[in-house]
């Protein structure tokens, strides 16, 4: 460990955090200006007064459907989050505490799923969704993500140390079924890990871009897809792009500031390490 009262450390850290926050700050600056102001030299470094008029214009654009996109993203991310937390808790508990044939191989398979790149399955996934008649709609970006190998693994790691075997044994002696044990003992005990997994899943789904960009039609954008529409094509008013980007980013930054301590805790406990 390095010496502790080294002012250089604090200077370095302050610089790092400023660099981390600076692009977000510039985003806000540009979102609150007119495009003429953005493209003047020197570029403005302080906030202007155009944030709300810019936002109004973004929401009013019929090609972007920004308001609907916000609702869509919220729905998609929420459904995926609830499903991932439930399915991961069930499977994670089974892998951690129940004995069954094939357990190790199945677990290895779960870990393997985390190594596969998304692009590999894009084309057949697109074909599959077309066959099912789901391409273009929100189901196509929700269904594939109601389970997550990472979530199963994370809940297993947590369940292993958080739930004493004796507790399960005792409940079994009392005649409780496995389902009963899960709902009244295990699930409550998994709550802290479930919260972290839920937050991370929500963020990941909210920020997802590639697959929604490919599959969603113009009637069903999510926020990230709407953002890419703002910034490409016929329509590229820079202050409006930044106003949209600001709104698309704000919810997660707020969530992060409120729950950041828990997320950091989750990472530190090793939940994020494979």
């Amino acid at each position: 460990m390095l010496r502790t009262k080294n002012p250089l450390l604090y200077i370095g850290l302050t610089a790092t955090v400023l660099l981390s926050a600076a692009p977000l700050y510039f985003m806000l600056v540009m979102a609150s200006r007119t495009t003429d102001e953005i493209v003047s030299l020197p570029p403005p470094l302080s906030l202007g007064g155009r944030l709300f008029p810019n936002l109004d214009e973004v929401f009013a654009n019929p090609d972007v459907l920004f308001g609907r996109a916000l609702v869509n993203s919220f729905l998609v991310a929420t459904v995926a989050t609830v499903c991932v937390v439930v399915t991961s808790s069930l499977a994670g508990f089974a892998f951690a505490k129940l004995r069954f044939k094939g357990r190790n191989i199945l677990l290895l398979f779960v870990i393997g799923t985390m190594m596969v790149p998304v692009q590999l399955g894009l084309i057949p996934l697109y074909m599959l969704m077309t066959k099912l008649g789901l391409n273009g709609g929100l189901e196509s970006v929700t269904l594939p993500f109601v389970v997550a190998g990472f979530g199963v693994f994370m809940m297993r790691q947590f369940a292993q140390q958080a739930i004493p075997d004796e507790m399960i044994e005792a409940a079994r002696v009392d005649g409780a079924s496995t389902f009963r044990i899960f709902f009244s003992i295990v699930f409550p005990a998994l709550r802290p890990a479930a919260a972290v997994l839920g937050l991370l899943t929500f963020m990941e789904r909210w920020n997802d871009f590639l697959w929604p960009y490919l599959t969603l039609d113009s009637e069903h954008p999510t926020v990230q897809v709407a953002l890419s529409r703002l910034s490409s094509g016929y329509y590229s008013d820079q202050s409006l792009i930044m106003a949209g980007t600001f709104i698309g980013t704000l919810p997660l930054v707020v969530v992060f500031i409120v729950f950041g301590r828990q997320i950091i805790g989750g990472i530190m406990e090793g939940g994020l390490k494979a």
Partner: protein, 297 residues
């Protein structure tokens, strides 16, 4: 009765994951290989089995190899400084700091921002005529750079986006495992008169080796799949082309371009499998290289 229940229950618990994954994860994976052996287009559908013809074509496809060079170039340019910075940052965050959580949250903040937002924000920051970076270069007397226009400068700008977003996250993962290193090791080293730098190389780096391997494999998977940052860095109607001469088109962008603009599903599936093999090769190289860290010193 109760015994049967206890025997069946575990399968019921894990089955939701496996059923959904089989449909939306495993099936597409295997099917890609099948599609890659066919002449298959978006509209016309399967035009017949062609064996390895797609793979042969790929070997001579200069556009593909240009995209491959871009991908590997950006990956190396982004990953090496990222891992070095993250390791140093982890070490710094591991000192006894005031307001620990504040610093940790500060370095993770970029990771909360979506890739789409990052691509758009940095696209404007690196804009040729009115971007902040060029303005800053101007104030210290340097000529502005057309960041999108050249290969090296677009690679550099994209690498900065990747590093901005991921360095803090990796630092925290490394920090988590750093905290498991026994403090006595540092005590002993200090008594022996080892400098902070020496402690870093002789204790921290070797002890972190498994985590560094993990982090760099994850960075490899992410880096070789790079898509959104270069796509939104370019913007415009034909963003998927990655610049006027494809100077920053990545393999993932080429894949999507072949599949959806060119409508060639079979050929794009071939690109996908080659991409997968590339990731596997890089992962192995990674492990092999990092195994040697122990022998440093």
């Amino acid at each position: 009765m109760a015994k049967t229940e206890a025997r069946v229950a575990p399968y019921a618990f894990v089955s939701p994951f496996f059923i959904v994954f089989a449909i939306f994860g495993f099936f597409p994976l295997v099917y890609t290989l099948w599609v890659s052996l066919h002449d298959w287009s978006l509209l016309a559908g399967n035009q017949g089995f062609v064996g390895l013809a797609n793979y042969r074509e790929l070997m001579h496809d200069t556009d593909f190899w240009r995209a491959m060079t871009n991908t590997i170039g950006i990956f190396v340019l982004a990953t090496v400084p990222q891992l070095i910075l993250a390791t140093v940052l982890a070490q710094v965050l591991n000192s006894k700091l005031r307001a620990r959580t504040f610093w940790r949250m500060g370095v993770l903040l970029p990771n909360v921002t979506s890739v789409a937002a990052v691509g758009i924000i940095f696209g404007l920051i690196f804009a040729r005529d009115y971007g902040i970076v060029n303005w800053a270069l101007g104030t210290i007397g340097l000529d502005p750079i057309d960041w999108q226009g050249h290969r090296w400068s677009s690679w550099l700008a994209i690498s900065v986006m990747v590093d901005w977003r991921w360095t803090g996250y990796n630092a925290l993962i490394l920090l988590a495992s750093l905290q498991a290193v026994p403090k006595e090791l540092y005590e002993a080293a200090r008594i022996d008169g080892a400098s902070a730098w020496r402690q870093f190389w002789s204790i921290t780096v070797p002890m972190l080796r498994p985590t560094i391997i993990f982090v760099s494999i994850v960075a490899t998977i992410g880096g070789i799949q790079l898509f959104t940052e270069p796509l939104l860095f370019g913007s415009g109607i034909n963003a998927i082309a990655g610049g006027s001469t494809g100077q920053f088109q990545t393999v993932a962008m080429y894949l999507v371009q072949q599949a959806f603009t060119g409508q060639r599903f079979g050929y794009a599936s071939t690109v996908a499998w080659v991409l997968f093999l590339l990731i596997a090769v890089f992962a192995i190289i990674n492990v092999a290289l990092l195994r040697r860290i122990k022998s440093v010193d």
